[in-house]
């Protein structure tokens, strides 16, 4: 759907985007991660055609980016976003839809559909300044997806949203992805990424540090840790106990050791097993490990 080939954007003081290549499939939710100032926004601005790359290509369905055609394909919700405060909500949605190339009738249908879907029908004549922050974020989301984009680019979409509205938007994102919309989800909030994205790329200082399927990455960085909780004391088992907490053990296995051997042991000893699971590293841990000791990572950790 969307392919980035050796994209570069250099500014006078820094290499904002330094040779990034990515591939985003149709209907996939792709997480773009990185600390502040890593180059996410610069990358997204090139993908949306707001700025031009110094070199490299942006391909939509194999075609090089062309404002006249592909602008309509894209729905972009920038990190720095807002609306006209004094404008009525209905008019605002209509205006932004028409700027995306919809005619009045199409735009009206879409607005009605989305306003109904997200319980916003009574908002039409309100002004943005009368809305709460969460409400205006919801409106912002609607104006981004009104024109049925094929590629949806969301930069920190959940910032400023309460849990209830976050959940609503999250469900909408899943729904759109099921309909075949490719979604780029840029954030520095790892727990959201784990929940939502299938594929991710971690960017630091303009470069891709890490890329791939979320589960695959977690497996790549796993440390063979297992959590076991039993009522009895664990005895007579050969392994490195990393941590013991009440009745809970965290064990690190050797590479050739079978996890089933522990279960076997527990059963043989007639232990009462409450929990047994593999501990995969969280993305947060992996990323901190990856960007550690770089200048930008300090902000990231905060």
């Amino acid at each position: 759907m969307l392919t980035l080939v050796h994209l570069k954007k250099y500014y006078a003081t820094q290499k904002a985007v330094d040779d990034i290549s990515l591939k985003i499939e149709k209907g996939k939710i792709f997480g773009l991660l990185g600390p502040n100032g890593a180059g996410k926004s610069s990358l997204l601005r090139m993908v949306t055609g707001i700025t031009l790359p110094d070199s490299g290509k942006i391909l939509y369905d194999g075609q090089e980016y062309n404002q006249d055609i592909h602008n309509q394909w894209i729905g972009y919700m920038p990190e720095e976003r807002g609306l006209y405060k004094k404008m009525k909500i209905g008019e605002q949605a209509m205006y932004l839809a028409r700027l995306k190339g919809l005619n009045k009738i199409e735009a009206m249908q879409k607005i009605n559909y989305w306003f109904k879907r997200l319980d916003m029908e009574s908002w039409w004549n309100k002004k943005v300044e009368d809305l709460s922050k969460g409400m205006s974020q919801k409106l912002q989301f609607v104006t981004t997806v009104l024109h049925n984009p094929k590629v949806l680019i969301l930069d920190e979409p959940f910032s400023g949203l309460d849990p209830v509205n976050s959940e609503i938007i999250k469900q909408e994102i899943f729904e759109l992805s099921k309909q075949g919309v490719s979604i780029i989800f840029s954030t520095h909030r790892m727990e959201q990424v784990e929940e939502i994205c299938e594929e991710i790329a971690l960017i630091n200082q303009g470069k891709i540090v890490l890329e791939g399927n979320v589960l695959e990455i977690k497996n790549r960085f796993k440390k063979n840790l297992y959590r076991l909780a039993i009522q009895e004391e664990l005895q007579g088992f050969e392994s490195n106990i990393v941590q013991k907490n009440m009745d809970e053990y965290i064990l690190q296995f050797a590479n050739d050791q079978e996890p089933n051997s522990l279960l076997q042991h527990c059963i043989n000893q007639h232990y009462h097993i409450k929990t047994f699971e593999e501990i995969l590293p969280s993305l947060n841990e992996i990323f901190i490990q990856q960007v550690e000791n770089t200048q930008a990572s300090r902000q990231f950790l905060n």
Partner: protein, 437 residues
């Protein structure tokens, strides 16, 4: 193109639908009109008709006084016995007491005016003109000049006319400078009011963070142009409405309030009877000649030039103001600093306009009318005096080139500035953008 139109439409409608627009549009003509009526009203009615009691011991003046005056009524009466002036005035209920002492050697010894609280300048001017005049006529009569002769002398003023050496056409510098001044000021105001309107619009989009949302749908240049065109149209609408309303008021008000009719008439009388010192170089205050001279102006040229320079000036400055607006972050004070380089040339233009009205062909004026940043204001001051065709073409050409260059430059600044948040931009950086992007 279509997207520019959608943007233009929004910019136009949101502004025109605002209450403040309606209030300003309808209030300004009413205020202007009302103020001028009020002035006339005060001039006429502010003082009630004043009663002047005349004790004319010379016997020359009273019957010759102009009894048609709207402000004063005259009647003759002399104090009795040793009544004081004050008691006398009180008894006859006079506001003013004019005491003309008997003549000695055919000259009045002295003429005394009394009034409670002192004599006003208006009264004293009115009376002295009247009395002087009566005395001079009397003198001439005594010298044996007959009445008809005196009248014809009095009603004659010298036929002074000025001509343009080039085409022998009659010129009227007062009219020319009046027209030039009006048009120059109008363009100056338009640039400032609507130009800074564009700047505020851009700042609003940037501080509300809507700019990036919109720019993901349209090119920055389209957004900028849509805004400039939309606000320009708002300005045109406002001017048209003002013009129409003022003309309508002129006709309608006297119908609605009949007593205003007299007032209007009086206003015209005051205007045409304005003393010569207030209208320099006018020769005579003959309103017919003035109207003739206004008609003689090449209005086709003036109006088409006005429209050209109006648009040119607005577009050049609107795009500059848009660029400045895109550099501002949250701080309005920052806006003031950044606006300075843009407002300087406008103010220079205005200063040059002032000298142009006196000397339309001085080298400063010619330069000012060529330089694209000042020409919209300065050239309007020169046109009513007549400008060589070559200069006019050159000035217009330079304005078009200047417009293209500046819009291109502003577009570049705007494109970068509108997406830059939270950092204070210096002019040095801006120059870098111009060179690199």
């Amino acid at each position: 193109m279509n997207k520019i139109f959608i943007i233009l439409q929004r910019e136009y409608l949101t502004r025109v639908k605002k209450k403040s627009f309606l209030i300003l549009t309808f209030l300004v003509p009413i205020l202007i009109f009302g103020a001028s009526l009020l002035m006339v009203y005060i001039a006429l009615q502010g003082e009630e008709k004043q009663k002047i009691v005349v004790n004319d011991e010379s016997g020359i003046f009273f019957h010759r006084l102009d009894k048609k005056s709207k402000t004063y009524t005259f009647f003759a009466e002399a104090p009795k016995g040793n009544e004081t002036n004050r008691d006398f005035a009180k008894r006859v209920e006079a506001d003013i007491y004019l005491h003309i002492l008997p003549f000695q050697n055919s000259r009045p010894d002295s003429i005394l005016i009394y009034k409670e609280g002192g004599v006003s300048l208006g009264t004293s001017l009115f009376l002295s003109t009247q009395l002087d005049n009566i005395y001079h006529v009397k003198q001439m009569e005594e010298a044996g000049i007959d009445k008809a002769k005196i009248d014809s002398i009095q009603n004659f003023s010298l036929p002074i006319k000025s001509y343009d050496l080039k085409d022998n056409k009659e010129t009227n510098s007062a009219i020319a400078s009046g027209i030039g001044y009006m048009m120059g000021i109008m363009i100056y105001l338009v640039i400032f009011i609507y130009g800074s309107g564009v700047m505020r619009g851009v700042m609003e989009e940037k501080t509300n963070r809507i700019a990036e949302v919109v720019i993901s749908s349209v090119k920055p240049f389209q957004l900028m142009m849509g805004k400039i065109l939309g606000i320009g149209l708002v300005g045109l609408t406002q001017f048209l409405l003002w013009g129409t309303l003022i003309i309508l008021l002129q006709f309608l008000l006297p119908l609605i309030i009949p007593s205003l009719g007299d007032l209007m008439q009086a206003r015209e009388n005051i205007v045409t009877a304005m003393p010569a010192s207030e209208m320099p170089n006018m020769g005579s205050s003959d309103s017919l000649a003035m109207i003739q001279s206004i008609m003689n102006q090449n209005w086709g040229l003036i109006i088409s030039c006005f429209i050209f320079y109006f648009l040119g000036g607005y577009f050049i400055y609107a795009s500059l103001f848009a660029a400045v607006g895109s550099l501002v972050n949250e701080d309005p004070q920052e806006a003031q600093q950044l606006t300075l380089p843009v407002s300087m040339p406008i103010i220079f233009g205005f200063i040059i306009l002032m000298t142009t009205l006196k000397e339309p062909n001085s080298s400063l004026s010619v330069f000012g009318s060529m330089f694209p940043l000042t020409s919209p204001i300065v050239m309007m001051g020169r046109i009513p005096y007549g400008v060589p065709v070559l200069q006019l073409i050159l000035s217009m050409g330079l304005l078009i080139i200047g417009f293209i260059l500046i819009t291109w430059m502003s577009g570049k600044i705007y494109r970068t500035g509108i997406l830059l948040y939270g950092k204070k931009t210096t002019w040095k950086e801006v120059l870098k953008w111009l060179r690199h992007s």
